[in-house]
């Protein structure tokens, strides 16, 4: 049997479908009539994206400035050029995806889990290319401090994303939560790169990058619970 023949079967089945009752259509029209008034359409997506990236950068810079910009001071110009533009690009990608999740029927580039995995792996690649210290001094104790600091700076960005989300409508709240978490996690990592002077490869690879999956999972869970 060819596809065309299957199409004909489907078309025949659709033709046989009973019509929607005119009374139902009238009832629907009547139900929306009392609240009929002009609405202001959503601002363009780039405005949301720019706001989100700006807030994430502002939170990261403010947090690092308060805690001390020890990390960025120790980085060489080459290392800065590799790390920070990569972070901005990934932030932009996550913000674009989040802005799309607020509008029903927007074009999507992949699943939220793929976004979180891709950003984590991309940053791991950058860190592997930049750092060369393979020691693991006080691996857990210093690591947990960094993870907590990164997550603490992710929270304001996640809250701001959540406020923006209320302006739109997420058809998949859990996915939107995961994307917001990824975006917020990136802000947390940006803060750590500006602040943390520990350049041991394992420390940066594990504890700094862990902010993204933890934050994305927290975002998805929060959204799932509030659904």
């Amino acid at each position: 049997m060819k596809d065309r023949e299957i199409d004909e079967f489907v078309a025949r089945a659709v033709k046989d479908a009973p019509a929607v009752s005119p009374a139902l259509l009238k009832r629907i029209s009547a139900s929306i009539q009392p609240s009929m008034r002009p609405v202001r359409p959503m601002p363009p997506a780039w405005l949301f994206t720019t706001s989100l990236v700006s807030i994430a950068v502002a939170v990261a810079v403010a947090g690092a400035a308060r805690a001390g910009l020890y990390g960025v001071e120790r980085l060489t110009a080459f290392e800065r050029v590799l790390i920070f533009p990569a972070l901005i690009l990934l932030l932009w990608a996550a913000a674009t995806e989040f802005a799309a999740s607020m509008i029903p029927g927007s074009r999507r580039r992949g699943r939220p889990a793929v976004l979180a995995a891709f950003t984590s792996l991309a940053l791991m690649g950058v860190f592997l290319a930049v750092f060369r210290d393979y020691h693991a001094t006080h691996f857990v104790s210093t690591g947990i401090v960094c993870l907590v600091a990164g997550l603490a700076h992710a929270i304001p960005v996640a809250l701001f994303s959540w406020l923006l989300l209320r302006r739109g409508f997420a058809v998949d709240l859990v996915a939107a939560g995961a994307i917001a978490g990824t975006l917020a996690g990136l802000a947390g990592i940006a803060m750590l790169e500006l602040h943390c002077p520990n350049f041991q490869v394992l420390h940066v690879l594990i504890w700094h990058t862990a902010v993204i999956p933890v934050s994305a999972a927290a975002g998805a869970l929060t959204a799932w619970a509030s659904r």
């Binding site: 049997m1 596809d3 023949e5 299957i6 199409d7 079967f9 489907v10 078309a11 025949r12 089945a13 659709v14 046989d16 479908a17 009973p18 019509a19 929607v20 009752s21 139902l24 259509l25 009832r27 629907i28 029209s29 139900s31 929306i32 009539q33 609240s35 009929m36 008034r37 002009p38 609405v39 202001r40 359409p41 959503m42 363009p44 997506a45 999740s101 607020m102 509008i103 029903p104 029927g105 927007s106 074009r107 999507r108 580039r109 992949g110 699943r111 739109g168 409508f169 058809v171 998949d172 996915a175």
Partner: protein, 188 residues
């Protein structure tokens, strides 16, 4: 079928507070949305309810439509959201009922009662939900692969794969039906 450009103009007028445009949209799109719900296995009564709920939500979030964006993915994205919520609600109620009554006393779902389903629902019944919705959007609503991808928050590749697998299953089913009916003297 209304051209998408016409729907875009109606949608902009609807956002501007034009009740006539809202009524025109309801009349043009409701039959398609209703078929979408029925194609997903909802009974006629359930489809009527979901359609009403969908329009209430569409009305509430009409500001999220962006002028110039494709209209159909926006409508179907929201319709799909309402249907999924309804499905979850039904499941929760069914779970509660199971706790109260013995399973054997539960009536069969309306969509499975012979004669209560529509032809499109019967035809697509053996397909998994994700394949069914893709086929209904592509073949019943006449949406493009890109539009279906937008409505289902997925990628064109994923839509193509689901449509292909759905067609494979339909082919198997229709071939089996054709063979069975052929022995009785004809397919149609």
């Amino acid at each position: 079928m209304a051209p998408d450009g016409n729907l875009e103009i109606l949608m902009a007028a609807y956002q501007g507070g034009d009740f006539g445009a809202a009524t025109a949209l309801i009349e043009q799109l409701s039959p398609k949305l209703h078929r979408f719900f029925v194609g997903q296995g909802a009974s006629r009564e359930d489809a009527d309810d979901i359609l009403q709920e969908t329009w209430l939500l569409l009305h509430k979030v009409r500001h999220t439509y962006r002028t110039g964006a494709p209209v159909m993915p926006w409508f179907y994205g929201i319709a799909r959201h309402v249907r999924v919520n309804q499905y979850r609600k039904t499941n929760r109620v069914a779970l509660h009922e199971e706790r109260v009554e013995t399973p054997s006393e539960l009536p069969a779902p309306a969509a499975e009662t012979p004669g209560a389903t529509d032809a499109i629902a019967e035809l697509l019944a053996p397909l998994p939900e994700s394949q069914r919705e893709v086929i209904v959007m592509l073949k019943v609503a006449g949406m493009s692969l890109e539009e279906v991808a937008r409505a289902t928050s997925s990628t064109v590749g994923s839509v193509k794969q689901k449509a292909h697998r759905g067609y494979e299953r339909l082919r198997e089913r229709l071939t089996a039906m054709g063979l069975a009916q052929g022995r009785r003297g004809g397919l149609s």
